[in-house]
Amino acid sequence: MKYSYYPGCTLRTKAKKLDDYARASAKALGFELEELEDWQCCGGVYPLSSDEIGSKLSSVRALNEAKVKGQELVTLCSACHHVIKRVNDDMKNVEDIRTRANNYLKLDEPYLGETEVLHFLEVLRDKVGFDEIKKKVVNPLTGRKIGAYYGCLLLRPSDIIAFDNPENPTIIEDFIRALGAEPVVYPYRNECCGGYISLKDNDLSKKMCNTVMDSAKGFEAEMLVTACPLCQYNLTKNTAGGVPVIYFTEILAEALGVKEEVDA
């Protein structure tokens, strides 16, 4: 199985590991991520204003490229996923945006939201199957207590992202269980880390990150996994004495026995 793949700017640079582990794991699980040829940055945040078109165009280009290839589009970074999935919904359902974006782009054939956007985790759950992954684990993470950190972008708004129950998600917990570890459920796993606010109001971000971290530690998590480079950064930088925060693809690669070849 081949998927179109949109890595996004951060995965090219600071979060290269998130990307490398994902590709290696995909290979081990028998599917391929085919990077789009000419992707541009998604903009990091979804433009909420209904009259803004320009900042949505790069997502439409990516979506259209996948459509032309006849593939589903896989994302990895929470922010990219959030932006692309929502722009796709606009293209499918909001006539005004659809018309204006198409008028601007002048594609061979108008893009009407045909591409299916999947987060890498959804591929694991819905396409590969956690049971299947369990069978392919060579280094089970037995005895490790791992907390999932979802953050906000991956779950909300749930009517469009349609990823999991926004207030009580289970997908990463199921994933952790499939790798042989013990998931730690704590209530703040879907609360915000502070996001871009950490740039100008670091105190606020610190407070929020500490709430998350304290809660996770309180429930005895030894480590947190996330899908978002910004969450990973904030939770690491803005807390003191916290548990390690790593990408979920890293524990996947580790369990599948491909981590070392990536690190090498």
Binding site: P47, A79, C152, R156, C192, I197, K200, L204, P229
Partner: protein, 130 residues
């Protein structure tokens, strides 16, 4: 003057795609907001400011720059008002006005460290500037 106030309020409703009149003033948005303490105008108040056609005050308030767009209020709003969208629309109005940017490129080097992901800068630029 009255007319322009009305127009501004309508613009916020248009840009945000929300109907503030659906609000039942339950305050769940403010109960959910992680940045509540830092806000001078609270999330639930944004709704009544739009109803009362006082968008000018919104465009000047500090809350615009502490809202995280975390969508907690959007997700939990029982009445489909979704104040987060109104905050963003007000922010749009503010940055579209000349000199409304909250972040200028010159101040960035001092704020950056080597691990800081690109995503952060890109997002901040999108949110804080025209």
């Amino acid at each position: 003057m009255e007319a322009s106030k009305k127009r501004q309020s309508e613009m916020v409703q248009e840009i945000s795609g929300t109907n503030p009149l659906k609000c039942m003033k339950c305050g769940k948005c403010s109960a959910s907001c992680p940045a509540y303490e830092k806000m001078d105008i609270k999330p639930h108040q944004f709704v009544s400011y739009v109803i009362n056609e006082d968008v000018e005050a919104l465009a000047k308030c500090d809350s615009l720059w502490v809202c995280l767009s975390c969508f907690a209020c959007v997700e939990r709003c029982p009445r489909d008002v979704k104040p987060g969208k109104i905050v963003d629309a007000a922010r749009q109005l503010a940055v579209r006005q000349k000199g409304g940017s909250y972040l200028v490129p010159d101040e960035i080097p001092a704020l950056v460290d080597e691990d800081l992901p690109q995503q952060l800068l890109v997002s901040a630029f999108r949110k804080f500037r025209r």
